[in-house]
């Protein structure tokens, strides 16, 4: 999982990858802190939405660590799950809004977070592609 360089796999935590890791870290912390507060203070209002946000935040954190440590396989899984999640939940929240009493990170394709949830996994996947072995 650690850094494998020279021929086998290229590092994801160097060059522009460092900016990507920084954005991911900001996002993981803000989504995580927000869902933590929601779960701690008013979990009963929308338990499913808050748990989904917490799950999303955990995946962002995992993605941050994977990109920062050049764990390419894990990073690929995380970015793919994020993209699938934001597309699935985004579509569901637009199609069946009454199923989402409170917004999640992925509601409306991440509109509450400036569409970063939609853009980040795409950037992550592009970066993994650019640095492919």
């Amino acid at each position: 999982m650690a850094e494998q360089r020279a021929g086998t796999a290229r590092a994801t935590n160097t060059g522009p990858g460092r900016v990507l890791v920084a954005v991911y870290a900001v996002f993981a912390v803000s989504a995580g802190a927000r869902s933590g507060v929601q779960i701690a203070t008013r979990f009963a209002d929308a338990p499913a939405a808050y748990l989904l946000s917490a799950l999303a935040a955990a995946i962002y954190l995992l993605a941050t660590l994977a990109l920062a440590r050049s764990a390419r396989g894990l990073a690929l899984i995380c970015c793919t799950v994020e993209l699938a999640g934001v597309l699935a939940v985004g579509t569901a929240s637009v199609a069946v809004p009454e199923a989402f009493p409170d917004a999640t990170v992925w509601s409306g394709y991440g509109i509450g977070y400036g569409f970063f949830p939609l853009v980040l996994p795409v950037l992550g996947l592009l970066w993994l592609w650019r640095t492919r072995p």
């Binding site: 160097t14 890791v21 870290a25 802190a33 927000r34 933590g36 507060v37």
Partner: protein
């Protein structure tokens, strides 16, 4: 929260974000001037936290107190973390990392202001 103080934090963060983006575009690395500017923004954020704690003790408090305090703690950590991550690999991308931290501080300060203004008393 004191509006003009929040404005100072936001302005300092945005100026440093613009400056570091400029450095990144010109392929320059962050120097002492950049670190000094970031330190000023961080100092403003610290002053803001102290003022917020004083206001909380005095009795003003927002409805979403936990979120407000959470934002304050993260706001203090974001610039040191960005600088550490930036300086660990000095390249043309280093200033970009600091820019991300500065923009995050600005956005968080705006969010803190919004939360504070929901104070019901």
């Amino acid at each position: 929260m004191i509006d003009w103080l929040a404005t100072v934090v936001i302005a300092a963060a945005l100026v440093m974000a613009g400056w570091t983006v400029l450095l990144a575009l010109r392929h320059r690395r962050p120097g002492w001037m950049t670190l000094g500017g970031v330190a000023v923004a961080e100092l403003a954020a610290v002053v803001q936290l102290v003022v917020a704690v004083v206001l909380l003790v005095v009795g003003q408090r927002p409805d979403a107190l936990a979120a407000f305090l959470g934002y304050h703690v993260v706001a203090l950590l974001v610039l040191p973390a960005a600088v550490a991550w930036s300086l660990a690999e000095r390249s043309r991308w280093s200033p970009g990392v600091i820019a991300v931290g500065c923009l995050a501080l600005a956005v968080m300060t705006v969010r803190m202001q919004q939360i504070w203004q929901t104070a019901g008393g």
